[in-house]
Symmetry: C2
Subunit: 467 residues, 2 copies
């Protein structure tokens, strides 16, 4: 049913490493089956490949010791944050040790003057923002799930407000990481910009645990904006909505969020939460800035939307009403699953140049209809990124094969538009064949770097590319 890689298990090495780990870490090593399965958890269609043990380090030194033991016996090491990744990143195709960083969850420094902080990898996005609130600061990247910042760094996460604040690549200043030989590096200083050699920070961001285990992260922070305004309006077509978005971006309106829900997604949300939104493509927006600036942004947006036949324009500034206005977006995932109770959702993640976005979304809708699937769409349209949630019966092999075909078909369509098969979910196991289609020989360069930094292929093997 699934297309996970299976790697040869180094049984003797695994047994030996587990012995040493248990001796050194005692209670902090677990081989309980349920815990192992939870740590091989994956939220796509990929088969669970549980690790042989889960270890809970508390310090960088612990991580170093774990990696050194595993390196000695050539045993796979798979870093684990909260397990919310979508492409089988935490699976253990050759067995090995899952390194769960949830006990490394301290906010080490908040430097308000410099708008940065230093955290351990197990700190979650919501925990960090709770910690920062009193100081009038926030960390903007929001992938939806309450992921760990270590995991978000490792997968190069982004989400709804990347259109204004960028992705993890733009918001990580420096990383401390344990390498395959157990040594520790820091990738950069705390300077806001640097030309000091190769950009190892951005090489580690999105490397999915295959080059090192992240043990500390220096993040950029933002001041909480003086004013936040939310807006919503409906469009006669996906194309009209996308044309609006394109113009908004071209005019340089600094929208903080601009999200598309297609007709089916709106319908799902209406049914789920008893809303009465017009069942046509919907844009939801958020503007951040000074009081005057958010008003100006909202007015400029409204004028552009009008030209493209928008209707039902609403705007609000209070927190409570903002949440109500955005409810459809917050509910989107559960509302979608409700369209087919018991079904499992498989999310695509293509991202294309914004000029091709409407064409790509409409083609996806048509293909979904042709295949007989139910698959609502939400999109981070300011970035050209959208997710089709294909609702499948996981037990039905024919359906699963068709769903896989659809994922491949859409990935290739996006690649043909000079886009990518993954805007924010990463490659993991699920997107490996499409990465090669997308970047060809560049994948050999990635493999060469991987080999240079991890010659025994112990760091999260079987992910991103074959080595």
């Amino acid at each position: 049913m699934s297309k996970v890689t299976v790697l040869t298990r180094n049984e003797d090495g695994i047994a030996a490493a587990l012995g040493v780990l248990k001796q050194q870490f005692g209670e902090a090593v677990s081989t309980s089956q349920s815990l192992r399965e939870q740590h091989g958890h994956t939220t796509t269609w990929l088969t669970n490949q549980a690790p042989d043990a889960v270890v809970f380090p508390k310090t960088t030194k612990d991580v170093q010791d774990i990696v050194k033991i595993c390196a000695q016996y050539k045993v796979p090491v798979i870093p684990f944050g909260t397990g919310t990744s979508l492409e089988g990143h935490v699976n253990a195709p050759g067995g090995g040790v899952s390194v769960d960083v949830s006990h490394m969850n301290t906010v080490l420094e908040v430097n308000a003057s410099d708008l940065n902080c230093v955290i351990e990898p197990g700190v979650t996005r919501e925990d960090l923002n709770t910690h920062l609130r009193d100081q009038g600061l926030f960390f903007p990247i929001d992938p939806g799930a309450n992921a760990s910042l270590g995991g978000m760094t490792a997968t190069g996460a982004s989400g709804t407000n990347a259109v204004r604040y960028g992705t993890m690549k733009d918001n990580v200043i420096a990383i401390e990481a344990v390498l395959a030989d157990g040594s520790v590096i820091k990738t950069a200083s705390k300077a806001k910009k640097t030309s000091a050699g190769y950009d190892l920070t951005r090489l580690m961001v999105g490397s999915e645990g295959t080059l090192g285990l992240i043990t500390k992260i220096t993040l950029k922070l933002q001041g909480i904006p003086e004013a936040i305004t939310a807006a919503r309006c409906s469009f006669p077509s996906v194309d009209a909505a996308c044309q609006t978005v394109m113009q908004v971006i071209q005019y340089g309106i600094p929208v903080a969020r601009i999200e598309l829900l297609d007709s089916l997604q709106v319908k799902a949300c209406n049914a789920y939460a008893n809303l009465d939104l017009p069942e046509t493509p919907l844009l939801l927006l958020e503007f951040h800035g000074s009081d005057a600036s958010v008003i100006e942004q909202a007015e400029m947006f409204n004028a552009i939307a009008d030209e493209h036949g928008a209707s039902g324009y609403q705007t609000t500034s209070t927190t409570e009403e903002r949440n109500k206005l955005w409810q459809a977006r917050h509910d989107a995932y559960w509302a979608s699953l409700n369209l087919r109770p018991g079904a499992h959702g498989i999310s695509t993640d293509v991202c294309v140049p914004i000029s091709r976005l409407a064409e790509c979304v409409v083609a996806a809708q048509e293909k979904v209809a042709e295949l007989g699937f139910t698959a609502p769409i939400v999109g981070h349209v300011g970035d050209g990124n959208f997710h089709t949630l294909v609702l499948v019966d996981k037990g039905n092999d024919t359906e699963m094969r068709k769903a896989e075909e659809f994922v491949g078909w859409l990935s290739e369509l996006a690649i043909g538009m000079d886009g990518t098969c993954t805007g924010e979910h990463g490659i993991g196991q699920g997107k490996m064949p499409y990465l090669i289609k997308e970047l060809g020989g560049a994948v050999d360069v990635m493999a060469a770097i991987k080999k240079a930094m991890d010659p025994d292929n112990i760091l999260n093997p079987g992910k991103i590319m074959a080595v």
Copy 2:
């Protein structure tokens, strides 16, 4: 006098490669001494190390052929844009072939809807902006010199408006590069964001020609803002100016430029252009946005500056007056040299967390006084980056030694503040020892990547790190 590395020359290989290159490229290969020396040109104190020949490719295929020939004979290949880099990047410490991309200067695509363009590496910053102007677009990175965009990409350039628009790292979407074996890769699609494997784009940006020769670049573009306002005011101290900057950034005022001139720099500008600015620290600013937003930004700035004892606040919106207001900044380099006619300027490039900036600038001023140098300071203070221009007599060995000591002292001071020895000029040859002090074991990782991608060390050898 200088501290350039000298590498062993592969005389037989160089002779053989030049023979084949001349046969294949004819007139496009030159061994004229003046041209060779110009291509080993460096604008710091580093000795000129001329290449053995200069080749002018016209296409990616030409670059591939040149690299393949050089690879066959293990001869160094040094990419060359306009030669405006500052740390000996284009020197040829082991001889070899300079690849001058000035004939690869076509703007291949401008995609206004997607706010991106595809260019060849020899296109200069000013040429690109001239090309874009009619479409209401511009490319924001401005390192001062009219550098080639290939060179700006290779060195990870930035400049005065990085505080708003970021550096080259933030503005390059994808790169086509010829690798050490002559193969070509593209690092990414044209999607605005991507999680497709290791971030080879950002690995190439700032790799200073040591990992590949850049043959095409996809750049992010910006819409020309509706309104631009310039402002200027004087401060009682460097600390007062830096406190102002810190608050401006914390408040999230999206300043497009915020530049510091220290008292000596202001004095130099007064003398050079007959201005009558108060000879105390000066901030120059530029605000980009809508008409209403630039007024609001300027007012907010003024209120903050007032709290820190600013005086002589002026603001203007017309292009001509903006240029007049900024004249001191535009003249800064030549005005500085005028302080000591005949002298050579050696520029430092440290960048520190903004909370340490005032302390770092004042310490630099005090050290300069102690050493008896004349050395005005300009700073991209929104980023914590500043340049001390030490005016030296290049023929005076004692002075040169002292200047080198100063560069080292300041680099180490910045590193001690968790900053970097180079905010935007790169490592080249000049900063190699400080890179190790700054990042320690991470430099071994850089060397491992270099070895994996260029096992014979033919791509710009002797730069960034010893391999």
